[in-house]
């Protein structure tokens, strides 16, 4: 995605007065990571891994007003907040380009569940970042006869598991020396993998990928198998028993699985109540353990189905 595209995508959702402040900074939008707005607080951005208060270099930062937050939300939602109730319940809306607008305010409850948010007081625009090629090193360990193995990515939060899965999907879908291109079905419950905007993936997921956006994983996997006959199914952050049962079903249907789960190690994943059973039954053929000691997305270990280490520190 070009810097100009990112610039347009971000600027068009900012309130006009904030847009003027950001434009005056003459930023390189490829380096922009976040724009943070909080009512009555200075306008801030994360730029090239550093926090800036805008306008930079001036004694007085721009204080964000309630009206600016309201106007920004109007632009983010295309003046149609009602259409984003489901997303608002999760706390964010995905905009064109796959960028994510996090929203905080007062929760409206229905029973004991969050129905929507009102009195929005904070908005955080997080720029989408794809790392094309981040799966290059690990892919040779995940294939047999140019076919992908059932793979489970085990990683603590913020270690790049979604980014890794996204690039794996792209490479499996397009095909390369290590793998023959094949149809991939993605169930993207929280629009994290594809960063879908109006149902269209904004991230590169390859030419043979079908994406089911905003659908619960278990239900989505069954729908994909019935409707699109994928050769590979990819899901992010599995955990609920119904997700694991759906994975088991998909494996029995002959689909290869790429999934991720929160965890620090193989042993921790084995101890998970339902997932542990699948691991002990050796259903998954490869395990990738991620870490972020040196940098996010660091591949610490890759194991095979018997738990034998295939490689370390890629």
């Amino acid at each position: 995605m070009s810097g100009e595209n990112r610039e347009h995508q971000v600027l068009q959702v900012l309130a006009k007065s904030i847009r003027t402040v950001v434009e005056a900074q003459r930023l390189d939008f490829k380096k922009l990571q976040e724009v943070r707005m909080r009512v009555g607080k200075p306008l801030g951005i994360i730029y090239d891994n550093e926090e800036w208060l805008l306008p930079s270099g001036q004694a007085q930062a721009h204080l964000v007003t309630k009206d600016e937050i309201r106007e920004t939300m109007e632009y983010v939602s295309h003046y149609s907040l009602y259409a984003y109730e489901q997303e608002m319940r999760q706390g964010f809306i995905t905009i064109e380009g796959g960028h994510r607008v996090g929203v905080m305010g007062k929760a409206i409850l229905e029973g004991d569940k969050v129905k929507n948010l009102q009195y929005i007081s904070s908005v955080n625009i997080r720029m989408a970042h794809e790392v094309l090629g981040c799966a290059d090193k690990v892919l040779p360990f995940l294939t047999k006869n140019r076919q992908i193995c059932h793979t489970l990515v085990i990683s603590p939060p913020r270690c790049g598991k979604t980014t890794l899965i996204r690039d794996l999907i792209r490479q499996i879908s397009d095909g390369n020396t290590y793998i023959k291109g094949c149809t991939v079905g993605v169930v993207d419950e929280r629009s994290e993998i594809g960063g879908c905007y109006l149902g269209i993936a904004q991230n590169q997921l390859g030419m043979r990928t079908d994406i089911l956006d905003g659908c619960p994983k278990a239900e989505g996997m069954i729908m994909l198998i019935r409707s699109m006959a994928p050769q590979v199914i990819a899901v992010d952050e599995i955990g609920a028993p119904e997700d694991i049962h759906a994975i088991e079903y998909a494996m029995q249907c002959g689909c290869k699985m790429i999934a991720s789960v929160h965890g620090m190690s193989m042993d921790e994943a084995k101890d998970k109540p339902v997932l542990g059973k699948l691991i002990k039954e050796r259903r998954f053929e490869r395990y990738i353990i991620l870490g972020n000691e040196k940098k996010p997305g660091e591949i610490r270990e890759v194991y095979d189905e018997r738990g034998s280490l295939l490689c370390r520190d890629l």
Binding site: Q12, V13, A15, K16, E71, E74, Y75, S77, H78, Y79, S80, L81, Y82, A83, E85, N116, L198
Partner: protein
Amino acid sequence: MQRFIGSLLIITATTGAGMVYGVELQRYLEKLLYIRHIVYMLKGEMEYSNVPLGEIFGRVAVRVKNPYRTWLKSMEWQIENREEDEFAKIWIRAVDKNLSELHLKSAHSIQLKELGTFLGQLDGKTSSRTMQLYINRLELEIEKVREGMSSKKRIGSCLGVMGGVFLVVILI
């Protein structure tokens, strides 16, 4: 002979004017009915597809005739380009610009503009109820127009003929 032809022309013209008045009344009623039809379609799209307003306007625009199509298309375009800081401004401006040729009565125009001030902001159910409320009010207006229409049409025609005769009598 000339007097006779002149008289005939005057009576024909005034009768015609009376009939045109009746036709205009009928057309006005049709305009209100068409607006109701459009709001029903907007409401249906909102309830069924739950997509943003711009997309709703775009989908409905292709199914209606001008100037309503231009009105909906212009709103779709303005929403996509985030022209104003709130939707009500886009709606009101579009009504003023694109529906001025309908020559809606002030009360009807105000009611239509008011609808725009409630759209978009609220949750789906409330937006839909707001549209239903507008439809109910519009139906009342339609009933009012319809009730008085046949008598007005008759009066218009009679006045046309009588006016013509009156003019002829004066002129002769």
